[in-house]
Symmetry: C2
Subunit: 304 residues, 2 copies
């Protein structure tokens, strides 16, 4: 199965109670692609970066099975930059700086070698851009998964609803599900979102795990209690990457297999938060991932 | 197996976004006993009430298999009274009124027929009172489960730590676990609490379920996504009642069986929040409980 991942590739500055970094690799497509590359290669990335996204970074991503042909490099501009500070509870954060740079005029280009795309992951981006990617694919992928955030609900709701109506799986967090629907109950919110078009909805709950909704079915994946959450940046994107990577590898979009995909996404995300940015994703191997998956099984397993 | 449940029996006034009641049956021992009575009868209650706790209320509890011999009735005083208002998110509340009344001088009396107690549930009360109950039992129960709250951490920490050191299972919520230990990570907090004495720790997370810790083991029980949380009052006590009721019925305190007990407690609590106070617990039957347990199995089940 072939997988295309769309989103930002960027630099972040991050402050947490444990320390800070002033420039680290970031961006939704980066995390998605790194996570998905544990399941399927190549991961065909679509993004845009600037002159500061140096060749050695591009090479390091290629070395992990990420196809960079769809990543435009603008030699006169800088890459997207985000700076944020996490509060002590690590669940809330302040955005300190957002410099769009190359992202201000992102017109996604789809290389012809990406046109066989069967699994499409739309990372958080302007919903118009997400729509453009779908429209520029000659054939609709077998499965389209989309992430978004509250910013687009505040500024581009019509366009967002149109994009949501075009996808198979929406992946958002609990607060976003509530804002999108005006429903406090996540079950009510979920059914309202499923009525907007997607056949599946994943609600991410951070340390509390994730919920998967489909028709009248619901599945609750646990959150692994960690000794320490060091930096939550990219955890949601990493979840999405593990989720669609697993689906693309197995080629099975049944509810039962989506449940497994949620567990794989959760396991990947549980690694992501253990170090700054994508550092931990760069360290782990297949054996560690398998071990972490077994921890999730043990965590959730009971027999009546 | 014989089960003794200690705690308040009281009246509550409750305001939620859905409505209000100015006087409804409440109290930790009430919820614990009602929930446990689905698993084992009699539930031997220890509490104290006033002249306003009318005979028909006592009879209605007796009719549900609750032994009221250990409930002192003070004919010159009123029952404990609590009034609270829930915020829109239903996760936070303001206490509007606390009238201790009979509770101000609660000196627990243990009827001789309670001395065979094998399972003891210490509902939230002053930790000195919880200690007194343990000390007044001639023989230590096979299993002591204790609930508490942040109020005792603020006002009686030494006494609370002593009580915690005397029990087998502590049941608290996430914020309380953090306050008790000063650790934000629930895994770190859990290991610190297990070092205080209890062999097991349950951390309740409301709509996000519950965690069970024992030595290096951890189990995550899901929270059932409900259409509506109508009134969360008593949900924690109801959880505790279902938890210890299941353990007392099965007579098995292994980690595997504790996991099942957490699921049963969670299922009971999921009913509690569907109506005001203990109303819903008064309506449900064994068939509905079994159906709810099956929903939890379906909710959490996955196979890799």
């Amino acid at each position: 199965m072939s997988l295309v991942a769309v989103g930002t590739m960027a630099f972040d500055a991050i402050e947490t109670p444990f320390g800070e970094v002033d420039k680290i690799l970031g961006g939704a497509a980066t995390y998605i692609s790194l996570a998905a590359s544990f399941y399927i290669r190549p991961v065909k990335a679509i993004s845009i970066v600037g002159y500061d996204f140096e060749p050695h970074i591009i090479e390091s991503l290629k070395a992990r099975g990420i196809d960079m042909e769809g990543v435009q490099v603008k030699t006169q501009e800088k890459s997207f930059f985000w700076a944020g500070r996490y509060h002590n509870d690590m669940n809330t954060r302040d955005t300190l700086i957002t410099e769009l740079n190359v992202l201000a005029n992102f017109d996604p280009v789809i290389p012809s070698s990406y046109q066989d795309c069967q699994y499409l992951m739309l990372g958080n981006l302007a919903p118009q851009t997400q729509q453009q990617v779908i429209e520029r694919l000659e054939k609709r992928p077998a499965l389209i998964v989309m992430d978004t955030m509250n910013f687009w609900m505040d500024t581009a709701m019509d366009s967002l609803l149109k994009a949501i109506g075009m996808v198979d799986v929406l992946v958002i967090n609990g607060e976003e599900a509530r804002q999108l629907t005006g429903q406090y109950s996540l079950r009510k919110a979920a059914h309202q979102i499923l009525d907007m078009g997607p056949a599946f909805l994943v609600i991410k709950k951070g340390e509390h795990g994730a919920l998967l909704f489909h028709e009248q079915e619901v599945f609750s994946a646990p959150g692994l209690p960690l000794e320490e959450v060091f930096d939550p940046t990219g955890a949601g994107d990493t979840f999405a990457g593990g989720f669609i990577g697993y689906l693309a590898r197995t080629g099975d979009t049944s509810f039962e297999n989506m449940k497994r995909a949620v567990i794989h996404g959760s396991a990947m995300a549980s690694f992501c938060v253990e170090k700054f940015g994508p550092e931990r994703l760069m360290e782990i191997d297949q054996r560690m991932l398998n071990e972490r998956i077994r921890e999730f099984v043990k965590l959730a397993n009971f027999n009546l």
